[in-house]
Symmetry: C2
Subunit: 441 residues, 2 copies
């Protein structure tokens, strides 16, 4: 009997992080880290489910849930084996829904919904194959893997033939790199010391702890007040010494000229990269900033909407560091396109993570890239933030500043049922009690 | 007593246009033209309401409605007089909602929702002032109008001081142009002959009718099949003769290389512009296409997400024609930024229209531009499609291929209550009966 997808269930999960100022930056003063969460269920009888999500920061998580639900008809009823053997076919169907496409195309709410569903399929595919997604990708036939990418609108920069060649050459020495990955893990960096809402004392303490924990890079949020940033950057540099990389992140706060001026004003403290200096849509703006702030590197990507914008950032020489996000674009398939573009242009990928479950997901992409595509971890680090991992069945494990390679099958995407039941909005245990407290007050 | 906004009501309105193949093109084979419709109500006691909408093509209209509802808390309770005296302040608040911003930023579902609400405010402002929106804008003080624009992310191309100067110089001779506008109207062009689903005979008949009706430009959908396009383009050119402009529209169907090749293959029929040759996100791709297809002009904009992408299309010399859309970006305020950018770069604006109510809205923007900004209609035409106007209280009026200037106060955005009651989805009279028929069948 053919096993089929029987349900696409969604959950509006919100964590009250704004109450602690965790995650505060120049553009996001009070985020409530949230997940528009999706579970694919089957009648295979093997107990396996596909889990995925879009990360949001609170209000609007319900809109994101509605967008995921709109994809249900494309998924429920599919043959599970066929779907897991070719997630790219679903990816193309979802992107190609002409009526839903009008709401993007390939950007914002609707595109992130597609990413959540596609990632859930990869989670299921990994579980069925008994492999973590990084290994599923690393072991895959290069021809098949290249066929998982949608080349529409990027063929002027990357053809399927080039992708096959990159993936074939990426396989040379893969076994040795896999062994090294399992032994040492993949390098991370930490943003935990640098949130804008933290005091200098907390920043200094956390920065020293980060170095003691084995991290070789930390990151500071900047962009609200230059005098404060100079003081905080001085404190951070004093705390970690000259050999630790200190990146700075403006979260899109500036126009082009401001970005150049502000970054130059911090240059004496040797920032490694300036992240999101301006709008993620401004390819030419990033190119101008890069011209203006060198040798400080320019990094962006967590809000870059799709492979088409990444393609142009690379074509225009606008970035030194590409920061893909596991749940902003159309899922693993589109991120595969982005990793291939980065490999072709020789630009290091240092993914965005943090939020809810983004570290859990994105580690798989960087580990695949190391084992079977770029073949290196040089100048490559995955962001690490110590938030909300306790809600996941197989949370990330950090040893000596490195992400340990996950061994559990799937995409590390699965949240505890109890966490969902507690933080489901607005009727989960926490929010219902919160509402009652506020009503009583 | 201060009058306040008392309600933001939404309606999911869908017209079953897919049953007639009206609106069919290479990417949108079966659109059901729809509106996520919003009404702002007040306690002013003057009977005036603000109406606005996002245009969609069917599925997903409910997601768009949910996004508009998420903005309710920013609008309800506002002082009506203050709001109408400064719609830009609401525009900035809506764009600046840090949690909702994560869902874009400034693109897709969430940004179109902002556009619907901002446009509804301008509708209300026009009604309260007793002026159509084009005249409200044309009569406005240049300093005030320049202050309605958000310069974030465009200041490298347009400063507020430059905007003031452009608007001041646009006022010279405005009275004469207003008189000319009221007498002759604003030139339009028609897409009605060229839908992909139409037969050659229907195309030929409608093209001849368009010329007889006074249009000097028509448009054909292309991109599904080259042999068909050559045949259809030949028929169209034969029908209208050499002096009528025939634009072609690929609706994003192609990669860069295909766009160049396909357009060149149609060059013998002298297409005036190629519209949406590739992804609306591909600024550098459009620049490459423009290099490859001249003297055929390159046009795009109906899916361009915001002023930041338009800025770059202009900076990169990627387009000959800028096709803003009244309801894709963040409303009148952002379209004012786009008109100013176009004026600064000297690129003609030929807005996208059609759909549901897009002609009604966008005519105001072009008429303002003629009277008080660019000061010319040379090489400028507003798209006209003869669909669904009957649902509006003050539908567009076309005389001799020109849009007659609206004289009714407001933004021409108001739909008949009966139309909403009939086509509200899924419980309006039409859809309820349709569901019953399908259930019975």
């Amino acid at each position: 009997m053919t096993a089929r997808i029987t349900a696409l269930d969604t959950y509006d999960v919100r964590f009250p992080t704004s109450r602690e100022l965790d995650g505060s930056d120049a553009m996001n003063p009070d985020p409530d880290y949230s997940a528009a969460y999706v579970v694919l269920r089957t009648d295979a009888g093997d107990g396996l489910e596909g889990h995925g999500f879009t990360f949001t920061i609170g209000r609007g998580n319900d809109i994101q849930v509605a967008a995921i639900q709109a994809l249900r008809e494309h998924v429920v009823g599919r043959d599970v084996a066929e779907l897991c053997a070719d997630p790219g076919s679903l990816n193309r169907d979802l992107i190609g829904d002409s009526q839903l496409r009008w709401l993007g195309p390939e950007k914002g709410v609707m595109h992130m919904a597609i990413g959540a569903v596609v990632n859930a399929v990869w989670d299921l595919a990994g579980k069925r194959a008994g492999k973590p997604v990084w290994k599923l990708l690393a072991d895959a036939d290069p021809e098949w893997l290249a066929g998982q990418v949608d080349y529409r609108y990027i063929a002027d920069a990357l053809t399927q033939e080039e992708a096959v060649a990159l993936l074939r050459s990426g396989r040379e020495g893969a076994a040795e790199r896999e062994a090294a990955l399992l032994e040492r893990g993949y390098p991370g960096y930490t943003t935990s010391p640098g949130w804008l809402g933290y005091s200098d004392a907390k920043l200094t303490r956390l920065a020293k702890e980060a170095v003691a924990d084995g991290f070789t890079q930390i990151k500071l949020k900047v962009g609200a007040n230059l005098a404060d940033d100079i003081r905080r950057m001085r404190a951070a540099r004093a705390a970690v010494g000259p050999d630790i990389r200190v990146a700075i992140d403006a979260n899109q706060r500036w126009n082009v000229a401001e970005a150049i001026e502000w970054t130059r004003a911090l240059a004496e403290f040797d920032p490694y990269w300036i992240e999101e200096p301006t709008s993620p849509d401004d390819i030419l703006g990033h190119a101008a900033v890069r011209q203006g702030v060198g040798p400080v590197k320019v990094a962006t990507g967590e809000h870059v909407q799709n492979r088409i914008v990444f393609k142009q950032l690379l074509q225009a020489g606008a970035i030194d560091i590409l920061q893909l996000d596991s749940a902003r674009v159309g899922g693993v398939n589109e991120n595969l396109a982005i990793l291939l573009l980065a490999a072709k242009f020789g630009v290091p990928v240092c993914p965005h993570a943090g939020g809810v479950g983004l570290c859990e997901l994105v580690q798989h992409l960087s580990m695949f890239d190391y084992v079977a595509l770029s073949g290196t971890t040089e100048d490559r680090v995955v962001e690490y933030v110590d938030h909300l991992h306790e809600h996941f069945l197989t949370p990330v494990v950090i040893n000596n500043g490195h992400y340990a390679a996950p061994t559990a099958p799937g995409f590390s995407a699965e949240m505890y049922e109890k966490s969902i039941a507690t933080y489901r909005y607005p009727d989960g245990v926490f929010w219902a009690a919160d509402l009652e407290r506020n009503t009583a007050a």
